[in-house]
Amino acid sequence: MLFLKKYWWKILTVLILSWVIVGGMLIEIPAIPKLGESARNLFYHVPMWYVMIVCFLISAINALRFLSKKNELYDAMSLEFVNVGIFFGCLGMLTGMVWASGTWGKAWSNDPKQIGAGLCLLTYFAYMVLRNSIQNKKNIATISAVYNVFAFALIVPLLFIIPARFESLHPASGESNPLQALYEQASAFRKVSLPAMLGWVLLGIWIYNIRIRIKKLELSKKWKDNQ
């Protein structure tokens, strides 16, 4: 029972993602012009971005918690969520370019969403550069926490507001509601696309969980050495 109590959400991750991989390949999907069977990438490419956004959101919340409580652990949590978010963002970018070269003809066609996502990733690359370029170790956490909050404030217009205002190759562009694409999705897709969202986000949190535990071990060693 203790095992289940500790690992239930990891078991849930495996179950959901197994369904996403097998079901996502085998369910009948409605024909969509141009996309054809590649529409199944909805279950694999799109969730990468959900994972990235969730990671960056929790990271910004932890940056705020650090700024109010000044606890080093919150800074570590904020950093590790950015790490996982960047990883999944890069996966989303690469898979998106593969999918685009197959359906839109070019890997990069300066689509508003592509540019927004690219700028978003660059913003967080800059976060890592900033962290590693500060000499005074006492200031790293505070400065990067402030930057982190502004970075998240920036990605909201970059990913949701600006791409929605322009004509785009992505579905449901030019709509004021960023969730419009989800509403227009045929119900056949939702059998897999909704679990896929949750499953991939849980996998991202699993990887974060491993990273933060390593970080905690390092921090506790550091605190012992300082005493």
Binding site: I21, V22, I210, I214, L217, S220
Partner: protein, 80 residues
């Protein structure tokens, strides 16, 4: 004269080989067909099951890798 006899010899030889190996070949084919019924299943629907299989293996590999890291971390956390 000589060339004709050589030709006849080659003909007989190839007939012998055919008599010996064609039945073996067809038996081997039957055995092969029986052994690879699983492959027939994999070939249905434009061979999509092959992709599902590959992705399932990759996914299982990644999960096993994560679980192994978890175990190592658990050990480290107990020791510290």
């Amino acid at each position: 004269m000589e060339r004709q006899s050589i030709n006849k010899f080659v003909q007989r030889l190839s007939a012998l080989f055919a008599a010996l190996f064609l039945p073996l070949y067809s038996i081997a084919q039957q055995g092969y067909a029986k052994e690879t019924e699983m492959a027939d299943v994999l070939y249905q629907n434009g061979r999509i099951y092959l992709v599902v299989f590959v992705m399932a293996i990759i996914f299982a590999g990644i999960i096993l890798y994560l679980v192994r890291i978890e175990k190592k971390l658990n050990k480290l956390e107990k020791n510290s």
